[in-house]
Amino acid sequence: MKCRMMKESFNIEKAIRLVSSPKTGGIVIFLGKVRNESHGRNVRMLIYEAYEEMAVAEMERIRKEALEKFPIEDMVIWHRYGELRVGEDTILVVASGKHRKEAFEACKWAVDEVKRRVPVWKKEVTDEGTFWIEGERHIKAE
């Protein structure tokens, strides 16, 4: 499955195999992680909520658009949800191409699109309370 929402951690080697063929010369991977700091607050954990069916459909649309827009060979887009601790993986985008240029461009573009379009929301559990992240805004959650 090349586009997935999942609770379990990523098997990156498996994602690489999914996009590799004998024609592949370069693979670019973006791996997002939960970091311990956000806007000056000490982060303990992220809770990702998703509109799962739509999220998968939107990732599939992004993958399809990437394959049309860039001369790449293949792409994997995986996103995790649920409770994720500092250091855990959150998102994985893998783009394979004959050459590296297009793989870099497609990977970067797809990560941006996922962050802009895929219905997933982050709640940051910090030392100063819990905040919903909505685009650039942070809103205190009860």
């Binding site: 509109y51 939107e58 959150t90 990560v111 379009r117 895929v118 929301w121 919903w132 909505e134």
Partner: protein, 87 residues
């Protein structure tokens, strides 16, 4: 006609439910539905429901983003949610 409305993330907390069914006039648009929902859930009134950069609502119909002038049909699933923050 009958449609389903789903709420996600902070909107789900605000409204207090993740999903509801509603009877709405035949051929109603997404924009008109939003007005009905604001009446039904006063806690949504302070949210900026607009189609521009300042908007803090996204609307999808059957799993696809739609604009406010999108017409609805029997059985459609409409979802309301804040700006996304995946990745």
């Amino acid at each position: 006609m009958r449609i389903r409305v789903r709420y996600f993330a902070r909107f789900r907390s605000l409204v207090g439910t993740g999903e509801e069914e509603l009877d709405v006039p035949e051929g109603i648009t997404v924009g008109a539905l939003l007005n009905i929902l604001k009446e039904r859930h006063p806690e949504l009134k302070s949210e900026v429901f607009a189609q521009n950069e300042d908007a803090d609502v996204n609307v999808s119909k059957n799993g696809r983003y739609v604009s406010f002038d999108e017409p609805l049909s029997e059985g459609d699933i409409v979802a309301l949610f804040p700006p996304v923050s995946g990745g």
